[in-house]
Each structure stands twice: as C-alpha cells, then as structure tokens.
C-alpha cells in the first residue's frame, strides 16, 4: 500500500519540483486560452462561410465543407507535425515570410505558435460544426423576418441568427474546450515542456509518478469546475425553454387594449 501511495503521492517530489510543474501548467493554460479563443473565432468564420447563400458562392461552401471534413478526420498530432516540420522549411526557401514561417510573436517560441496553429486548425473544424448546429437550430422564421425587413443575409446573420445560435451552443463549445485543453499535451512532441512533459521528465529522473499525478490534479482543477458550469448552463437553458415552450403567454393583455385612443399617434 505504501509503495503505491509513494509512487503517486510523494509530496517531496511535489515540493522539490513545484516551480517546474507550475511553469508547465502555465504553458498549458496559455496554449489552452490562446488556442481556445482562436479556435472559437476560426470555427465561427468557417460556420458562416458554410452558410453563405446563393449559387455563386457554392465553391466557397464546398471548400469549407472539405476543410472541415478533412481536419476533423486527421489526428491533431499529425497536423502538429505537418505544421512544425514544414512552415520553417518554407521560410528557409523564401516561400513564406520569416515572421510566419518561424513565428516568434509576443516573445513566445516558434514551437509554441506551431502548437497554437495546429490547435486552431483542428479545433476550428470541430467548433465550426457546433456553430453550424446552433445556426440550424434557429427557426427559419427568424431569417425570413429579418430578410422581409430588408436586411441582407450578412446583416441578418450578424444581428439575428448568430447571437441566438451562439447562446444555444455555449455548452457544447465549452465541452470542446475541455477536449482542446487536454490535447495541448500533444505539443510536447515538438519540444514544448508543458504540464505532461514536465511530469514525464521528473518521472524518468526519479522513477516516481507523483509529478504526473499533480499534473492530473491541475487539469481537473480547471476541467471539473468547467464541467459543472456547463451542466448549470444546460439546466438553465432547459428551464427557459420549458417556461416559454407553451406559446409564451405570460400575462394576457385585456382584449381591445389596442387601437383605442391611440388613433393618429405620431408615426
């Protein structure tokens, strides 16, 4: 029993390596937040491109669908290796500007940005599908009402459809964010010492897994509250829809309240 406890919960390992572990955790958090925000944005762009109307834009829709299908079907690890192994080469050949081929924005290393790019490419495709489900769940009467008022497709999307769609899909988007956060550990293969890699390094030095256990706990520190928050949002949404489901009659107005005494009001 003691052997097991010591293997996973040797507190001296935690205290001795606390700074290194926290540094790895901080890197994981940065990758998650920057990658998450960019994926959310890129996913929405993809979803909107997929919904563009008219025959003339069919090629754009087709390309978008091809992109989404492709990157949902390829392991993120493979995308990561493709990005990190080729962008630098393109920069060296002069095909890409140095700043894009070997990105070192905001004082971060190029592997950091290769990781961010791979995360955004992959999770953008996933999130595009979530947005799409939300957009398609908005009743068609909303688009018709907006268009009948003279709004363009773009105006109707921006002002009417997307705000409603996003509200509907916040829970599944946060679910994808949890998956994204866990997948940031893949960037260890291109030399970034994030939370999992820190644990591995310590494990191979000490033959003890406690650093990895702490890593697991740190992941849960973020993902469990997030999961509870998602449940809360879903419950609240369900309450709302059951409240307004029956025609939305809150307080019937007295019959004939309209049109009496308001004739000739300013228009």
């Amino acid at each position: 029993m003691d052997v097991i406890l010591e293997q996973y919960f040797d507190f001296s390992i935690w205290t001795e390596n606390f700074d290194a572990i926290m540094e790895g955790f901080w890197l994981t958090v940065q990758l998650s937040i920057i990658g998450g925000v960019l994926s959310l944005t890129w996913g929405l762009v993809l979803a909107l491109l997929r919904q563009l109307p008219g025959r003339a834009l069919a090629p754009v829709r087709g390309l978008t669908i091809a992109y989404i299908d492709a990157f949902r079907g390829i392991p993120m690890l493979l995308v990561l290796l493709l990005v990190s192994g080729s962008l630098g080469a393109f920069a060296a050949e002069g095909v890409l500007p140095q700043d894009i081929g070997i990105p070192r924005w905001l004082g971060r290393s190029d592997p950091f940005w290769y990781g961010i790019i791979a995360i955004t490419i992959t999770y953008g495709a996933y999130m595009a599908e979530v947005y799409r489900a939300g957009i398609e769940a908005v009743p068609s009467g909303q688009m018709e009402a907006a268009r009948s008022l003279g709004m363009s497709h773009g105006q109707a999307m921006r002002q009417v459809i997307v705000p409603q769609a996003v509200r509907k899909v916040i829970p599944p988007l946060l679910n994808d964010f949890i998956a994204l956060m866990k997948d940031t550990s893949l960037v260890s293969v291109i030399g970034l010492t994030e939370l999992v890699q820190v644990g591995r390094d310590i494990q191979s030095e000490t033959f003890n897994s406690s650093a990895l256990t702490l890593g697991a706990l740190l992941f849960l520190l973020i993902t469990i509250p997030l999961a509870r928050f998602i449940d809360y949002l879903i419950n609240r949404q369900q309450e709302r829809t059951s409240r307004t489901g029956g025609g939305g009659v809150a307080e019937p107005a007295p019959a004939g309240a309209a049109g009496t005494g308001q004739t000739g009001g300013p228009v």
Binding site: Q159, G247, G248, G259, G265, P266, V267
Partner: protein, 254 residues
C-alpha cells in the same frame, strides 16, 4: 381605386413537381385592403411569400408601383434575378408565428432594421419605435422581451416592426391563426386602424368578419388559382362558384 400598387401577371410557383401557384393575375390599388381566403394548401401564403420574394416565382411578372421587380440586377433564374432590396424595403410582412427576435426587447425589435437597413441613428430609430409601439397600444411594454409578452402583444410588436420601415404595402399571413381567441381582437383592431389610415394591405385570413368589414375586395383561392373575386358582400354572401360555396359552408358552419 387609385393608382395600382401591386400587379401580378401570370405568377407561377413550383416546389419540385408541385405547382403551388398556377398563373395568378392580381391587381391591388393604392390604399386597398384585399383579403385572401381559401382552404389550406390553396397557395395563399405562397402568394404573399412570392410578392416579397421570400419565394421568388418561377414564372410571371410582379410590378410594384409600375416597377417590374422581376428585372433586378443580374436578371436570371433564382434569387439573383430579382430586385429583392427594392421590394423588401417597400413591402412589409407580418407572420403567423410573429417571428419576433427573442434576444431583443420590444423596442429593439422595432428599431433594429431601421438602424441596419435605413441607417437611422439610434435616437431617431428608438423615438420612432416608441411612437409605433404606443400606436399599437404597447407603450408600457417597450423594454419587455418577447417571451414576457402574450401572443397578441407579440403580434402587435411585429406589426409595429413592419410599420417602422415605412412600407407602401403590408402583407399579413394568417396573423391571428396562432392566437388564443381572446387575443385575436386586439390584433384585428390594430389592422382595422391601419386600413382606415389608408395603408395598402393584402390579408390572408380565416376571419370572415374582418374580411367583410374591412376588406375592399375578397379573393377566394383554391388549387393555386384565383377562383372568385369581388366585393366582400358578393363573394361571402352570394358566391358564384361551387368551390367557394363549399368552402364558405365549411367555415361558417360552426
């Protein structure tokens, strides 16, 4: 009647193999109120949806104040061929299911398109929206969200929303069909006022009383064609066509 507001010539609409409108000819004068009656599936709603291009017709011509709206930029098959902006900014529409924007308050529902389409300033749009909501009897509901309003109130907001665009014609698509009986009158009263003020209206409805009192003309449709049309009294009390008689018999029985 005065000048022609809307003219339809041979308007045909197909959904796949199903021909929903089979060559509709119709003229609506300025200030005229035309009520469209007919059994479900007769093409009444599709007719309205063709006029404001939610469903562009397959064949035929539609004129709005003499302007052929079928000769839009690009003039081709499908949506690109129709002068959609010209139509929609002049033709308002009110729907059976209200279709208010649920994430916007009543006053925001009425001001949104004024700002995005007509480019009115926020102050101007809100002033106009408040005046219109007052006119439909909802001065005390400006900041309520649609899910806090009754069906009748929601429909009156929808009418105010259509009016905010200063339309020359308003199309009403069975606007009282989704309402509880006690809420129907408040919506019909608003429409009655509009008619009195000279708004050109095409009203698809099952409210025979409204058609009789407010309609200048009644059109009976069945199977995608206009079966009979004339003054409300003639069509409702002394229908010439067998199909009209049968329909009115079924509707008025209860």
């Amino acid at each position: 009647m005065a000048e022609q507001m809307i003219q339809l010539r041979g308007v045909t609409k197909r959904f796949g193999d199903l021909e929903v409108l089979r060559g509709i000819d119709l003229e609506v004068g300025e200030g005229e109120v035309v009520c469209v009656l007919g059994p479900s599936g007769s093409g009444k709603s599709t007719l309205l949806r063709c006029i404001n291009m939610l469903e562009p017709p397959n064949e035929g011509e539609i004129f709005l104040k003499g302007h052929n709206i079928c000769e839009g930029p690009g003039s081709g098959e499908g949506e690109e061929g129709w002068d959609i902006d010209y139509v929609r900014q002049r033709v308002g529409m009110v729907f059976q299911q209200f279709n208010l924007f649920p994430h916007k308050s009543a006053i925001e529902n009425v001001s949104l398109a004024q700002r995005t389409v007509l480019k009115r300033g926020e102050g101007e749009a809100r002033t106009k929206a408040a005046a219109l909501l007052n006119r439909v009897g909802l001065a005390d509901k400006l900041d309520e969200y649609p899910d806090r309003l009754s069906g009748g109130q929601q429909q009156r907001v929808a009418i105010a929303r259509a009016l905010a665009m200063d339309p020359q014609v308003i199309l009403f698509d069975e606007v009282t069909s989704a309402l509880d009986p006690e809420l129907i009158k408040e919506v019909l009263d608003v429409m009655r006022e509009l008619a009195k003020e000279g708004m050109t209206m095409i009203v698809v409805t099952h409210e025979m009383g409204f058609a009789r009192d407010v309609g200048d003309r009644v059109i009976f449709m069945d199977g995608g064609v206009v079966v009979e049309e004339g003054p409300p009294k003639d069509v409702l009390d002394a229908p010439k066509e067998e199909r009209t008689r049968r329909f009115l018999g079924l509707v008025l029985e209860h």
